[in-house]
């Protein structure tokens, strides 16, 4: 009897709580967060448009200096990361692809290998993992470098020499990261697929190399290649824009550089995932 009463009381309390208005402080907190998100989105959008404008105006006849800087940034965001990407590609192949191949063979679903690999590795895991690695290795360094440049007054020095800071500092990084992320994604996917087969071979999975690669090739369409290029370049562009924005956009005291780095990493990840979601819509409609 007592237990029933207690239960009734609890239910009514719960319903009262559910019907009660959200405390003002909670609403304010959520509204503030949404407002800040929108402001950040607007500022990042403006910075991206400014950068694109400079790219369009000045890339038609780039100065040898800017070409040289682009080369340096491609080396920094691409070539120099290759050893780490080879390691990650091998790990990805062993840990994910090899096991997937083994499981598919065990349950007799090896004919689905190509489709699963293309969806998992080529479309999703490869580009996103490459973007995260580029963000971790180069994006964070970007914020620290540019934040220090800003804090030490080097932007004013560039402006005094009539050198456009966006052209000199941001455009080479954007080009370098877009090209670097694309190239590294291709290497990551190739390395993962190769090491995945090696792992399956070591596990005595009954699949011939010809079958394995023909299944993968058969599952790929031209759209996959085009969207892979577009997506990875977009990831590189986003990472470059977000990290350069946080390093350069406003005067930054040296002690704030670490906070700006944390913000840049979080916002880059969110932006890349959102763009990835847009690409999923394209994939689902094809």
């Amino acid at each position: 009897m007592d237990r029933t009463e207690a239960s009734t009381v609890d239910v009514s309390r719960t319903s009262i709580l559910l019907r009660a208005p959200v405390p003002r402080s909670y609403a304010n907190y959520i509204a503030r967060k949404i407002f800040l998100f929108l402001v950040t989105l607007q500022e990042l959008g403006a910075f991206a448009l400014i950068t694109l404008g400079v790219c369009v105006r000045k890339l038609r006849r780039p100065a040898p200096l800017i070409r040289e800087l682009m080369g340096q940034q491609i080396a920094r965001s691409g070539v120099r990361l290759l050893p780490m990407f080879v390691f990650v590609a091998v790990a990805l192949g062993f840990l994910v692809i090899g096991q997937t191949v083994a499981v598919l063979a065990r349950v007799g679903a090896i004919q689905w290998l190509g489709s699963i690999m293309v969806v998992a590795v080529v479309r999703e895991l490869g580009p996103l993992l490459a973007a995260l690695l580029v963000l971790a290795r180069v994006g964070t360094a970007n914020v620290v470098e540019l934040g220090t440049v800003r804090a030490l007054g080097e932007i004013e020095a560039l402006e005094a020499l009539r050198i456009d800071p966006v052209h000199y500092l941001v455009v080479p990084r954007v080009v370098g990261m877009a090209v670097g992320t694309f190239a590294l994604t291709v290497y990551l996917i190739l390395g993962a697929v190769l090491s995945g087969y090696l792992w399956a071979f070591l596990q005595d999975v009954p699949i011939q190399p010809g079958d394995y690669f023909s299944q993968l090739a058969g599952a790929l369409t031209y759209l996959d290649f085009a969207l892979l290029a577009l997506k990875t370049a977009a990831f590189g562009f986003i990472i470059a824009i977000v990290t350069c924005y946080h390093g350069l956009a406003r005067p930054l005291p040296l002690e704030d550089v670490s906070n700006a780095t944390v913000r840049a990493v979080a916002q880059s990840i969110v932006a890349c995932v959102l763009v990835d979601a847009l690409f999923i819509l394209v994939y689902l409609n094809t």
Partner: protein, 287 residues
Amino acid sequence: MNPSATPNAPASPTANASGPAPVLEMRGVSFGAMRDQTQVIASDVNWTVRAGEFWVVAGPQRSGKSDLLLFAAGLMPPLRGRYCCFCVEMPVTGDAPLNAFPPVGLVFDGGQLFNHLTVADNLALPLRYHERLSAEAARQRVAPVLEATGLAPMAERLPQTLGRSWQKRAGLARALVLRPQLLLLDNPLGGLNARHRGWWLGFLGALGRGRTTLELPPMTLVVTDDAFAPWVRVATHFALLGEGRFVVIGDRAALEASADPLVRELRAHELPTGATGSETSLWERSG
């Protein structure tokens, strides 16, 4: 020759209204701080600098002297009023080519060198960017400037490996590479020992007269400092920035005659010492 022992002022423009053309003209100008442009540094500034003049703007620390030069160099717009430099309304905005900007050079207090570039590359950067020169061609162009400023032995060193005095000198050399006609210098003597102070006073005097080995025409100079005293024999015109006001004092006689307590305080500092003869020979053109 010891330039600071026998300092010569740059060619003084004629005092009448039909004298040399104004290179810098501010009318009813208010300007803010670079870090926070809503913070007003000085209001209602009316100031004309004519070609060939050597101005010293003195003021207490944190009075906004650096902001004045950043504003004068066109790095921020006026909050109010009209500011023209070489008859061009400032600031020049948009995607303008170098020749759309007035020929103004700015030397920062700390040099503000790019830390990832060597001294020679710092100097070559504006040439490589604006004139699309190769690295080799730009280096050949900066060699005489390095020589004249005594930086040639340090050309391949990174800025952070140099002392503050040499960093400031490298900042001056970088500003000279684009051959400005108006040179703005922020606190050039700050933190220097007697030898470097003497070098700066002599070199700037020679720049004003067009007597350096760089073959530059006589240059108009605006210098900021915490005191007037080191510049009394070198500069031709003086102004005061402090307590939220910009006061044009005038020539040396006006400086001597000024009864403003702040001017008197800033005038009462030590006099400069001379540069060494061996250093002077690096940049002084004979004749």
